[in-house]
Symmetry: C2
Subunit: 412 residues, 2 copies
């Protein structure tokens, strides 16, 4: 294809890294001391650079390396081309989309810097100056069970008091006024008690509970009825369209998901069954920032809400999330982010939450700068911690409980 | 909202014009000798300019004038803001969207010129270098019945031979190899005969027939069965979701529409009923180029095809159509355009069809330049032909047939 007026990608670099992660608990186990991410850098023929970030497990990393050689020589604007790139047969849709997203974000960053426009302006323009995020509360241990793991000063949170204390610290430090608890860790009654404690401590603040599909339909219905009027939404209480649909039908609770609907192909049947009322977008596995706008269009058309999912990530992805969220008028829920839990970052000026919000950058591109010394440090960590290169929450749990296996769901 | 790095709109101008139109027949009557359009120009604080074009009837023109004062002071990138602008209560969704689209296109044109990028690059990047258009065949009279009307040299086309002759000229002049006949003018048997004549003259070329909802369900079924295997698709044979759905269910014919589904709010029920298999996008009344991408996303997700509708238009809109079409991977049908029928244009270098296609411009913005002398001429025409300021195909028909009334549909 011909492209005048647009720089060509001259170089693409993929760097695997490990970032430190606290011992955060979920239905599968516990976060490992380090979690892998893939950092993508591109450079154009006229010297503009752009960065992107995605999952770091081997399937993602290997495909990213293939992409890196494929995109050389392509025009910078070809977000569409990257997105629809006909890549390695056999890789899953989620892996392809997640890898493409890192290159798309890097292209948009570089294009924005090349022309002097913020990324949001390349997505149609922001409709708000700040994007609100929610506090992502986790049951957690005080420390990882391995001696050489990174430490944190958040302390343990294993009961309602611990969760309220954690929420208070999130609010004191960052001003969050919306709270999501990662559930599926303890029997549902304990998690109901934690939500009730949050509701008492933070009256009228939006509250969410996400057991990652850990409950049966009956348990989900029981929790939904017990917390009727207390939750802003219940996230993935149970797995699958049929179960989610039944929970909604029987209780009327608003159900959000990043498990029941994770790709465009899953939308029609789930929407038809009223299985989800809020889709949690994630620009990584939905395929990029343009794809996130596409998802928003589908949700808007079908009267389904939109919020934003987060996995463990760094400041590059947080910048990308903030840009795209700023352009979607109906994204009115506070977005999820794990960001405060990770003290590592690879941008020179990490984001600062004020009143639970991030300011939308008007600087060219994503408005961030890669911190090369940090990148080198975290890559070196990747080189020297081979067992951490695949995320495995069950393996991490076995350090504390040798008999632990990923539970078959529903667990309760 | 704060906007650094982005120029602000300093001036917005709205100019009503009349463009000459041949006596093209449809189910409502005949095109008037002149048809109204609204031309939008914006200028930014740093002198970048952009143009857009939309419908010209008074409701559109008046709202465009309100928009023109509202957008002054807004940042150039605020395509979203323009699109979602909370405008004059009481105006219809279609009018609001159509007016917003002209401003959105003008903003994208100016932004592209400001930063040196083609509009398609502001929409995610083109995925093809050319966009194919189809020949838009019309039954037509040799001339308008009024003496002072503009003349054309296409001659009459009132039977199968005339339509084939017209199609041949389209192909000879522009290389079109896909043909759409505007039907609903003569009894269905005559139009079936015209399609059969086209199929004989142009074997294996895609053919379409569009009676604008002029037929009953029974007539539609009869035509669909009669032309089984001959048509690429049948466009709006009958009005409404129920009727379209029944025609598709009984015949299996692929149904396209620009009447049954014309706004996002109409999509869910129509898709659920399998009433349409191809949506004809129109960036004017769908609300702009970003909205067209949104429509494409919804269609892709639901497995519904996408093609492109045209109303009488000039080169500004043709440029906008070509840019957005170039960015949508699944827009694989030849797009409709009335363009060859209008000899007027208001761009300095009118588009040239080669092999039925237009090259996608890589020049900054839309890649066109407003011809100010032509704009002045066509505006002067608007000033001096007050009766033509509203499009009224039935009124035009009454000049030849004083008893003519817009038929109540279905006509057959």
């Amino acid at each position: 294809m011909s492209y005048e007026n647009v720089p060509v990608i001259r170089r693409a670099t993929v760097t695997p890294i490990l970032i430190a992660d606290p011992p955060l608990l979920n239905v599968q186990g516990v976060h490992q001391p380090y979690t892998p991410r893939t950092i993508v850098e591109i450079e154009t023929s006229d010297g503009a650079t752009g960065v992107g970030e995605t999952y770091g497990d081997p399937a993602f990393l290997n495909l990213a390396r293939e992409f890196a050689s494929d995109v050389v020589g392509q025009p910078l604007t070809a977000a569409n081309v990257v997105r629809w790139h006909n890549v390695v047969p056999g890789t899953s849709e989620k892996v392809r989309a997640s890898v493409a997203s890192a290159f798309e974000v890097a292209c948009l960053d570089a294009l924005g810097k090349h022309v002097g426009l913020p990324v949001h302006a390349l997505l149609g323009g922001k409709v708000r100056d700040t994007v609100e995020y929610s506090a992502y509360l986790f049951y957690k241990w005080e420390s990882h069970p391995s001696a050489d793991a990174p430490a944190d000063d958040w302390g343990a949170a294993l009961d309602p008091d611990g969760i309220v204390k954690q929420a208070r610290r999130f609010t004191d430090l960052y001003g969050f006024s919306s709270y999501k608890l990662k559930g599926g860790v303890f029997p549902p009654e304990e998690e109901i008690a934690a939500i009730r404690a949050l509701a008492a401590a933070f009256p009228d603040r939006p509250l969410r509970l996400d057991p990652n599909g850990g409950w049966s339909v009956e348990t989900s219905v029981r929790v939904a009825e017990s917390l009727s009027g207390v939750l802003e939404y219940l996230e993935d209480p149970t797995l699958g369209v049929a179960g989610m649909s039944e929970v909604h039908r029987r209780t009327g609770v608003i159900l959000a998901t990043n498990m029941c609907v994770t790709a465009f192909s899953e939308i029609p049947s789930a929407f038809a069954a009223s299985a989800v009322q809020v889709v949690l977008s994630d620009h990584h596995y939905w395929g990029g920032l343009l794809a996130t706008r596409d998802l928003a269009a589908v949700c808007r058309t079908y009267g389904v809400g939109l919020s934003m999912h987060s996995n463990t990530h760094l400041g590059i992805s947080l910048a990308a999330m903030t840009h795209v969220a700023s352009t979607v008028p109906e994204l009115l829920y506070a977005c999820d982010t794990h960001r405060p839990w990770q003290t590592d970052d690879i941008i020179t000026t990490p984001h600062t939450f004020v009143d639970g919000c991030l300011a939308v950058s008007d600087a060219p591109g994503l408005g961030i700068e890669l911190d090369r010394s940090q990148l080198a440090l975290l890559h070196d960590r990747w080189l020297h911690h081979e067992p951490m290169r695949s995320r495995d929450d069950a393996a991490a749990m076995r350090l504390a409980d040798p008999s632990w296996q990923s539970p078959s769901l529903p667990r309760w």
